[in-house]
Structure formats: C-alpha cells, structure tokens
Amino acid sequence: MLQFIIRRSLVALVTIWIISIVSFAIIQLPPGDFLTTYAANLAAMGERVPEQQLAAMRERYGLGQPIVVQYLKWMRGVLQGDFGRSLEWGVPVSTMLWDRMGLTVLVGLSSVLFVWSFAIPIGVYSAIRQYSLGDYFFTFIGLLGLATPNFLLALVLMWIGFAWFGQNVGGLFSPEYSNAPWSVGKVIDLLKHLWIPMLIVGTSGAAGLIRTMRANMLDEINQPYVETARAKGLSERRLIWKYPVRVALNPFISTVGYALPDLVGGVLITAVVLNLPTVGPLLVRSLLSQDMFMAGAIVLIISVLTVIGTLLSDILLAVFDPRIRLE
C-alpha cells in the first residue's frame, strides 16, 4: 500500500513539474517581454515607472537571461508564494487569487459531491430497471446534459430565473454580503447561491458518470455471484448494494479521476456566465488582456489542484480495491 502511494505520488510530482513548465510557457506566449508591456500600459495611463524599479524587476524575473534561468527564478518565486505581478491590476497576483481560489475549490468540490451523490444511485437504478420508463427518462436527461454546453444551461437558467421569478441568480453572494467579512449570515447566503452553479456543472458531469455506472452495473448484475447471493435468500436491496454495486464502483472511482479535469473546465466557464467571484472570470479576463502572470498562475494552481484531486481519488480507489495496489 505504502509503495503504491509513493509510486503514485512520484508520478503526480512529475506531472506537476511538467505543468509548471507549461504554465511558464503560457506566460512567455505573447510576443515581446511583459515588462515592456507593463511600462507601456502604465505610460498609457499617464504614469511613469522609475528606471530603477524597472531594473529591479528585470533582475527579479531574469529578463534578458537564458530561458532556463527565467524559469528557475519564476519557480523560486512560485514556491515562496510569489506568482509575479498582475499587469492589469498592478498588484501581486497572489493577493488577488487566494480568496477566489477558495471559492473555486468550494464550487468544484460541491459539484463533485453533487455528481457523485446523484450519479451512483441513478446509475444503479437505471441498471436494475433497464429499459424502464425511469431508465429512459434518466438516459434522456443525461444525454441532454451531455449535449448542452454548461454556459448555455447557465444562461437558460438565468433567463428563467429572471423572466419568471424576477430574480437575478448570478453571483455567489447577495449584494449586501459581497464585501462583508465572513459571518454566519454570509455563509447561509453563500449556500443559498451555491446550488445553481452546482446544478449546472453537475448535470453535464453526472451524465457521463451515470452512463459509466449503468454499464458497469449491467456487466455485474448477471454474474453468478449475484445469483448465488439471491439463492441464499438475501433481500434484493441488500444484495444489490452489498455485492454488484461495490464491484461496479471500482471502475467508477477511476473514471472520477478523468472526470475531474472536465469538471474543473465546466466550473470555469459556468463561473463566467454566472459572474461568480471565482478564478474563471479572472482567467478569461487576464487572457483577453494578455495579463500573463495572472493567467499562468491560474493555470498552474488549477492544474496542480486537479492533479492532487486525481491522486487522492487514486489512493481512495486503492483503499477500496486491493487488486489495484498490485497492478
């Protein structure tokens, strides 16, 4: 077990290292070096950057030095929590990110939980009542969820909320709480708003998982061991949840690893439409205005978090299923 965890962690570390290179490449993507852009931006607003400060920044980011040196300098900063300066906002990236990152993780996690708690029972139901009305209904809903882009679903929901209930369903907080410090009231307010992005991201995420779960269950449900259990006189309910569901869950947990990256993408786009105070809108904005330190940092953190999530689900899988550890 320990060996398995160590091996998986090493793979994750290598992945994270490659991610850091990719993120650095993203920062380098726009033509010209960012300092010139930065100075030009400030000059456009009528501010002058002292030559001294420019020189300090040039030294700080190793501009003009070989690309490897630039990468190492950037990485050293990142490890110390310094992601560079946002060119658009003129403040360190990290100060803007942490708040939003927390809420992003919250929305992502709650969507994952939502997806799991719905996809598993529905998948099981669809399998044991194959071709029933309910099965067709969930298959249809699932397919529709799969075919509808997240942002479209968000738009339609907002429109319904706006046109028929006269409510603005966007955001994560009511106006009176958005800038208030954390309090019980703010948490309750957050929970009131959270279900909408959860639902939107969840439906498309759940669709694929329901299908996986259903297919896995169908493979298991006619196995001899199920028959044996039934012959022993076990009640149908216990039988289903105790044997085939457990077996069917295994491939399911491993798909969750691959589902996570998609889910994160869904959260990003939905957040833009719903105008959530998460990193999604920030990422789009920074990309559109070529605020590359911001974009690179967001890509880096989001990807690393996803890799860690996948690692955790892998370890979880190994705990559940001893066969995995021997691989």
Binding site: L143, L146, L155, N168
Partner: protein, 393 residues
C-alpha cells in the same frame, strides 16, 4: 503470389462464418444469402432507430450549411438599424383581409419608441400581410465561389417594401438570426470535421506506433496521453487560443483554432487505436501474414487497419461533439473564433449578459442548434459503435 491467395481465401471466409439469419428466413431454402460486412453493418445500424433519425438530421444540417447562401435570405453581417431585436416573426396563413390563403406570409411591423427607456418595441400590423416568396431572385452571390446565381429559398417580394423577414428574429444590429444560424452552421459543423480529421491523423499514427511496436516508445506516448488527460485542458486551450496573434485573418484564425481543438481529440483516438492494435497483434491472421513475409507496413495497412476502420469511424463520430462544444465554449468566451466570422459560439456571445437574454431570448437559438447537432452526433456514434462489430451478438 502464395501470400495473396491465402489472404483472399481468409477474407472471403469471414463473412460466411456468421450468416445473417433474418435475411435467410424469407429466401428460398436452398439459396444461401451472402451478405458483405458492409451490409451487415447497415442492417445493424438500421435497427438503432435514433441513430437513423439523427443521421438524417445531420444530413439536413450539413446540406443546409453547404448551401448556406441559398438557404439564408440575407447576408449574415448585413445590419439594419430599423429592425433591432425584432422577435421571431409569426408565419401566418391568414392574409390582411382576414381570409385564409394557402400561401404562408408575415405581417408588417409597427415600431414604437418607449419615451422613457428609448427602447424600440415592435407590434405586428395585422392589416398588412405580405406573402413569402419562394426561390426569390435577389442579392446575387457566387455558389462555392464558382457559379453566379441569385436564387434564395425564401424572402419577401417587392410589394413588402423595405420590410424584412426575420423567421428567428434579429439581433442588436438588426441582423437576421436565421441567416446567421445557417452561416454559423457552416463554420461550427465544419470545424468539427476538420479537427477530427487532424486528430485522427495524430491518433492513428501515434496510437499505431504505440500499439504495434510497444516497448519504450509505447511507454512514452502513453505517459504523454496520461499527462494531457490528467490536467484540466480547458484553461490550457484557452491560453493557447488567446496567444493566437490578433493580426491573423479570419481563415488563419479558423485553422489555428482547428489545430488547437484537434490537440484535444487525439488522445482518446490514440488510446482506441492502440487497444485495437494490441488486440489484433496476436491474432492468427496477422501471424499468418507475417509468416508469409509481409512487411510491417503491409501488415498494418492491409491486414490490421481494415479490421478496425469501423471502430475508428464510430469513435470519430463520438469525438466530434466534444470539439463542437469546445469551439462553442471558446468562441462564447471571446477566445475562439471572432466576429465577423459567424459560428454558433460567436452568435451566443451576443447573449452573454442576462439583460440581453431577458430582452431577446431568441438570441439563445444558436444554442439549440448546438444541442441538436451534438445529440445527433452522439446517437449516430452510438449506432455506429454497435454496428461496427456486426458479428457480435
């Protein structure tokens, strides 16, 4: 010479193994029906009713997209300040005098300006009725850039004056949504095809190398695939497309986005191809071909690839929806295609804020087109996947 003979007998033997029962039943007892694998696939595919319907829907979509100039009444970028946010027009068979006619037509519009908000609202004028003309001759265009013609499927005749027909409403600049959705289909549906073709090339080459040779190169390619699949790709593609130079022309941008999109698709295909190669590598017919001295390339192209093309076609079809959805998403965020290019994603960008959507919900209609085509591709892909292995079950 000997090798090719053996091959011939092998391939002709395989359809005979699984005789199609349904067809033999109504034939004469002595007559033995021989169905080619293609026929078997078609029979199997036909049984999946949703897939057949979806295939028909897609055929219509692509047909309309191909002849967009003919099917759309107006130029997609022609604006008209007089008709901003006109709701979809009701098509009516009751003419201005209140009598029933067999010709469909539309009523005239009376515009009001709200004195406070200055917003223009439209009211239908039931006394003015204008018949829809079919195959009208106006606005000459060049079909495929070759044939000069001026026929459009429908439009309002000259008696309508400067009234325009907006079957799906108009947007904030008074552009006809119907024409825009039709032209958008051309971009959105073709981008799926083109990038799936690119990712197919990547997938078959890399997956083939991976599955056929195995060893360290397999290991390397598999690790790359795992890496791509374990990070959230959306932010990466967003960053890549944001980095496409702003100076690029519409066409350059289109191909840039296509390349970026196909980098998403190839991993799934490569996995599939590799799996097939691994499964087939140990099959007897591959061994037979190898013993006959066939070269690697010949074994791959003549013996292995034909036996899984149908699977590949099925998974190709299943990966088009993902590409269409990603393009729509990217363009919606302003990071994919950009106006004046018209794609469904670009059109949905117009519906980005809730105020506009509340005012003009018909701007969401391109989304419906996206949902329908993605659903249809999924169904057709499902049907093809079932049909790909006609000897199964």
């Amino acid at each position: 010479m000997g090798a090719s003979e053996k091959q011939g007998s092998l391939t002709s033997a395989s359809p005979g193994v699984a005789e199609p029962e349904p067809m033999v039943a109504d034939a004469a007892e002595e007559w033995i029906a021989v169905a080619s694998p293609g026929q078997l696939m078609w029979w199997k595919f036909r049984r999946h009713r949703m897939a057949v319907v979806s295939a028909a829907v897609l055929a219509v979509f692509y047909f309309v997209a191909l002849f967009a100039e003919f099917f759309s009444p107006y130029d997609p970028n022609a604006f008209d300040a007089k008709y901003k946010f006109v709701p979809p027009m009701q098509i009516s068979f009751i003419n201005g005098e209140g009598n029933f006619t067999f010709r469909p037509g539309v009523y005239g519009l009376i515009s009001h300006r709200d004195p406070e908000t200055l917003r223009i609202t439209y009211e239908t004028d039931k006394t003015a009725w204008y018949p829809i003309h079919f195959f009208v001759r106006e606005r000459p265009y060049k079909l495929f850039g070759l044939f000069e013609t001026d026929i459009h499927l429908y439009g309002l005749g000259e008696e309508a004056g400067d009234l325009k027909i907006f079957v799906l409403g108009s947007d904030r600049l008074g552009r006809d949504m119907a024409s825009r959705v039709i032209y958008g289909a051309r971009i959105s549906l073709s981008i799926g095809m083109v990038s799936v073709f690119l990712s197919l090339t990547l997938g078959v080459v890399l997956g083939g190398i991976s599955g056929y040779y195995g060893g360290w190169i397999d290991n390397l390619i598999q690790r790359v695939i795992e890496f791509i699949r374990s990070v959230p790709t959306l932010p990466l593609w967003m960053a890549l497309s944001a980095a496409l130079p702003n100076t690029w022309s519409q066409t350059q941008r289109y191909f840039g986005i296509t390349v970026i999109l196909s980098v998403i698709g190839w991993t799934v295909l490569a996995r599939q191809v590799r799996g097939r190669f691994l499964a087939l590598r140990t099959e007897d017919f591959v061994l037979a071909a190898r013993l006959n001295g066939a070269s690697d390339l010949r074994i791959i192209l003549r013996h292995m690839v034909p036996s899984f093309t149908s699977h590949i076609i099925a998974s190709l079809t299943l990966s088009i929806p993902g590409i269409i959805l990603t393009e729509t998403g990217l363009s919606f965020l302003g990071l994919g295609l950009r106006p004046p290019t018209v794609s469904w994603g670009v059109l949905l960008q117009e519906a980005q804020n809730i105020r506009t959507v509340a005012l003009a919900p018909w701007l969401l209609l391109p989304g419906l087109a996206v949902v329908i085509s993605v659903l249809a591709f999924n169904f057709v892909g499902d049907g093809l996947r079932d049909a790909a292995d006609p000897f199964n079950r």
